[in-house]
């Protein structure tokens, strides 16, 4: 579960998040959408403190991560993140990308970490690439590896920051398929995305951000068929 209370974030004088309050329930899949500059990526990055909030509180499970006493490294082990540009470790093989953090951070034995990594690679359909370096993979394959890498830490929550925005169109589907099957496992997911079709089909809820504010919080069917705010209506007109 993720709970956010009056979250604010400023970069210098620019206020990017102007007080956002919401709760993402256990097992819920939430799509975060909005025009560029609306603060959706910053919002997501505040959920594992890659950005430090200026004000407000964030809970992951029953831990308030914005409390200075919380060990943020421990919290991050529980919050997987997938980036727009993958950020695989280029000097490690695919398998090493998956086993490094479980072994180093969680102290998992090599054999166990590798067995788990191979299982995850099979799930994302890339077991045969285990010993390749990331530079040999296509964008879609890289992103599937990145998802598997995050899952290797057995997180309770997964954050996706525009996971398909940097992909060639023909590779978007393979990544969305992996995310869809992940959603079916009951994983709690927060996804910043421009894939409206995916948000409509897979998400339990849609958060629409604009100008640093949470403008709409609705089920996909409500949001896509009858958006309440004018901004959301305009946005959807452009997108669909």
């Amino acid at each position: 579960m993720i709970k956010v209370e009056n979250l604010r974030k400023s970069f210098g004088k620019l206020e990017v998040l102007k007080g956002i309050t919401t709760t993402i329930k256990q097992g819920e899949v939430v799509a975060i959408i909005g025009p560029s500059g609306s603060g959706k990526s910053t919002f997501l990055r505040c959920l594992n403190l890659l950005e430090e909030p200026t004000d407000g509180k964030v809970w992951i499970g029953d831990q308030e991560i914005t409390n200075r006493k919380t060990n943020i490294m421990k919290v991050r082990q529980n919050v997987g993140m997938v980036f727009q540009h993958f950020h695989l470790f280029p000097h490690m093989t695919v398998l090493e990308n998956l086993t490094y953090a479980p072994m180093k951070v969680k102290g998992m034995a090599k054999a166990e970490a590798e067995a788990k990594a191979m299982e995850l690679l099979r799930k994302v359909g890339l077991a045969q690439k285990a010993n390749e370096y990331p530079s040999r993979l296509s964008g879609g394959q890289k992103q599937r590896v990145a998802i598997a890498r995050a899952l290797a830490m057995s997180p309770e929550v997964m954050l996706f920051d525009e996971p398909t925005s940097a992909l060639d169109p023909e590779m978007v589907k393979e990544v969305l398929e992996v995310m869809k099957s992940l959603a079916h496992t009951g994983m709690t997911m927060a996804i910043v995305t421009h894939e409206m079709g995916f948000a409509r089909e897979v998400a339990d809820r849609v958060l629409f951000l604009d100008g640093g504010l949470l403008v709409e919080d609705a089920s996909p069917s409500e949001f896509f068929s009858a958006p309440k705010s004018k901004r959301a209506q305009e946005f959807l007109e452009k997108m669909l």
């Binding site: 594992n48 890659l50 490294m73 421990k74 919290v75 991050r76 082990q77 529980n78 919050v79 997987g80 993140m81 980036f83 540009h85 950020h87 695989l88 470790f89 280029p90 000097h91 490690m92 490094y100 953090a101 180093k104 951070v105 370096y133 990331p134 530079s135 890498r149 995050a150 830490m153």
Partner: protein, 223 residues
């Protein structure tokens, strides 16, 4: 005797083994100084990019001083000057290692700093998002990528160090240069032994260059 070219290499052939013994001295000084410079260079580079202002300042002052004064001066201060302060003599060999090590640390720290900054910011974020602490992140993720990028610059620094090590001759360490000079003094002819020394340095540098290329090739395997 007259003007014109008057070189006689054959009389120096017996002295070549004596000069060659200096190779080991030079290599020892260079290798140890390179290790010291590299280790200290990493620490200084981490200070420079770190958040602790005092350490950043300290590392910047260090670099500025060691880059801003002649190497031969630093060497002489350590060899001739330091005994006044610490109360005991330092041998030429450790003095040379310390002087070259401290000096090259200043240059190496700049190379490494640039290398770390050139690593994609996303690498750091990905490591942070996985909950990887600072130390293993730097050691296993950021530095290996930084080193790969800066290998040519680093190799260049080691080559410079090899050549510059010839200034230890001023404090009497028995390196290639010093030995060539002694042989020249013996025979009242300097041109030939200095040429021989030059050839030896050139061969050493060529070997280093080839080694660097080989290491670079190995590190490129992930491309």
């Amino acid at each position: 005797m007259g003007f014109g070219v008057n070189l006689n290499f054959s009389q120096f052939i017996p002295s070549i083994p004596f000069i060659l013994e200096g190779v080991l001295v030079t290599l020892k000084i260079v290798a140890l100084a390179a290790l010291l410079g590299f280790a200290l260079g990493i620490i200084l580079a981490l200070f420079k990019i770190g958040r602790i202002k005092v350490l950043t300042w300290l590392a910047n002052v260090y670099t500025s001083v060691f880059r801003g004064t002649p190497l031969v001066l630093q060497l002489m201060i350590i060899y001739f000057g330091m005994p006044q302060i610490i109360g005991f003599e330092i041998d030429a060999f450790p003095a040379a290692v310390i002087a070259f090590g401290l000096n090259s640390a200043a240059y190496i720290s700049e190379i490494i700093r640039a290398g770390i900054l050139a690593v994609d910011k996303g690498q750091r974020e990905a490591a942070m998002a996985l909950g990887i602490p600072y130390k293993p992140m730097m050691r296993d993720i950021i530095l290996p990528q930084a080193l790969k990028n800066i290998l040519p610059a680093l190799m260049n620094e080691f080559i410079t160090l090899t050549k510059e090590s010839a200034v230890v001759t001023v404090i009497g360490a028995m390196d290639i240069m010093r030995r060539a000079y002694i042989v020249g003094g013996d025979k009242y002819a300097f041109f030939e032994p200095l040429l021989i020394a030059g050839l030896i340095y050139y061969i050493l540098v060529m070997i280093l260059t080839l080694l660097g290329k080989a290491v670079e090739g190995r590190m490129r395997k992930s491309d």
